[in-house]
């Protein structure tokens, strides 16, 4: 079971984890991030959804913009964002292990 924490990204949760994961290996601007997400998750995040998520994550202190002379402003993970992502991934790992274990057990008795 997952438990929501005060650091959770809220109603754009699904997109938020993709964004945080993408930023985990370094700063990216919006378009580069969407291309990255397509490559590792097979999901294309539409621009409206992306910037709504940016606004929310920035407001929650999970990401922050990086100063840039370019119009395409990059974003990076904050320490709080990295911690939130780490916690989330830990839960997912436990869930995956437990799910696979139970799935294997049920197949033996099928």
């Amino acid at each position: 079971m997952t438990k929501k924490t005060s650091e959770g990204p809220g109603r754009v949760a699904g997109i938020a984890w993709l964004i945080l994961t993408s930023l985990a290996d370094g700063e990216k601007h919006g378009y580069a991030l969407t291309q990255d997400v397509v490559e590792f998750a097979g999901v294309r995040i539409a621009p409206g959804s992306l910037y709504e998520a940016f606004a929310r994550l920035e407001g929650q202190g999970l990401i922050e913009p990086v100063a840039s002379a370019d119009r395409k402003r990059p974003y990076r993970l904050t320490a709080m964002g990295a911690r939130a992502l780490d916690e989330y991934l830990s839960v997912q790992e436990r869930l995956a292990i437990e799910g696979r274990r139970r799935l294997g057990a049920s197949r033996r008795f099928a």
């Binding site: 109603r11 409206g48 910037y51 395409k72």
Partner: protein
């Protein structure tokens, strides 16, 4: 890794900037530049995408509601009217008497926005501005307010004509009264003319003021277009003043509190969504897919905005019925489905072409986060059983 386009042309930039108009000024100030830069690349890659357009419109509207809370409070307490006119298409058939009439811009007496409150008995004053190429005399015979699909038509209680709309600033509600000291009064011109049945001479810029009521409580009224029928030299014509993708919505409410009720916010967003859908040209083959996509995406956006996670079948059916009622030519006849392992699997049966056939389409699996919140939805042919 990414394919970036450094040669984005100015037309693409203008399109990208056009999308920005859906967002509030505070949002534009913060994210506008990078958002446009992002869109320029997307538009260069995929010039047309209904899914992208509807995504931007939906999120722009919700950003507007959250960024402009203060403005909304001021507007709702004023309990005034609404209206914006974006474009006019002058349909003047086979007549050499007329130059085309075009709308220059929307204007509503200083109050802008897409949603307003009104009590059922209140008459809202709404101006429809337009410009003409030449001065011509017309006799307006009727004005009809056409409702947006799925909405009620406001009740039209009066129409007045004013030349030189730029000189008008109505502060008094209905009926329209010209403020003292305006140029029109100083010059001795008749400021306002009862429009129906009167011959008026168009100036370069004119205004029709409409008195509109929203008589049924807790219902939303939305205008798709205003049709003005007029005669010139005995020949009758109709000009259509379209609301395009920014329909005006009046929410009928006795409570003029500062907070916009959820039902009104939803109807305002729904009005913009259906107007955007209607403004897109599409083939008969594309139409059912776009219908299902719009309903699914809108249900998703609504539920996300209210923080409830994932839309239910009830939500989807509600918006399907509002947008594409069962008695319409493009009806969504049914929506069925369930959540399978947290993933919505909705099946739409949509009226097809002229032979009354049905098209069956399904949502794709999208992506769902661990809390059950859906983050993306698409439409595809249903998998074979």
């Amino acid at each position: 890794m990414s394919t970036e386009h450094s040669d984005v042309n100015s037309a693409t930039t203008k399109r990208a900037q056009g999308y920005l108009r859906w967002y509030p000024s505070a949002w534009r100030e913060r994210y506008g530049e990078e958002f446009v830069a992002h869109l320029e690349i997307e538009l260069a890659e995929r010039p047309v995408s209904f899914a992208r357009t509807s995504d931007i419109v939906a999120h722009g509207l919700f950003a507007r509601f959250s960024f402009q809370r203060g403005l909304r409070i001021a507007l709702s307490t004023a309990a005034a009217s609404v209206v914006v006119i974006v474009a006019i298409v002058a349909t003047i058939s086979s007549s050499h008497y007329w130059a085309p009439v075009t709308i220059s811009s929307g204007y509503d007496g200083g109050i802008s926005g897409v949603g307003q409150f009104s009590t059922p008995s209140q008459v809202n004053d709404v101006s429809v501005n337009f410009t003409t190429r030449s001065r011509v005399a017309i006799r307006i015979t009727s004005v009809k307010v056409i409702p947006l699909r799925g909405f009620l038509a406001p009740q039209l209680v009066g129409v007045e004509f004013a030349p030189h709309f730029s000189e008008l600033a109505n502060d008094h509600g209905w009926p329209i009264r010209l403020p003292k000291g305006t140029t029109a009064q100083e010059q001795g011109r008749t400021p306002m003319i009862q429009a129906i049945g009167t011959t008026v001479t168009l100036a370069r810029s004119d205004a029709l003021w409409l008195g509109l009521r929203a008589p049924l409580l807790h219902r939303a009224y939305a205008v798709e277009e205003v049709r003005v029928t007029y005669e010139r030299r005995g020949v009758s014509h109709t000009m259509v003043i379209s609301q395009a993708t920014t329909p005006d919505v009046i929410c009928s409410s006795l409570s003029l509190s500062a907070k916009t009720p959820t039902w009104c916010s939803q109807d305002i967003a729904a009005a913009s969504a259906i107007a955007t859908f209607s403004s897109n040209r599409r083939t008969t083959t594309e139409r059912p897919t776009d219908e299902a996509l719009m309903v699914a995406q809108f249900a998703e956006s609504e539920v996300q905005a209210s923080g409830h996670g994932t839309p239910t079948l009830v939500d989807v059916r509600h918006w399907a019925a509002q947008f594409f009622a069962v008695n319409s030519s493009d009806a969504i006849r049914s929506v069925t489905g369930t959540f399978n392992l947290g993933v919505p699997e909705w099946r739409f049966v949509i009226r097809g072409g002229s032979n009354n056939s049905s098209v069956v389409l399904c949502t794709d699996r999208g992506v769902v986060d661990s809390g059950g919140g859906m983050i993306g939805v698409g439409i595809e042919n249903c998998p074979s059983q």
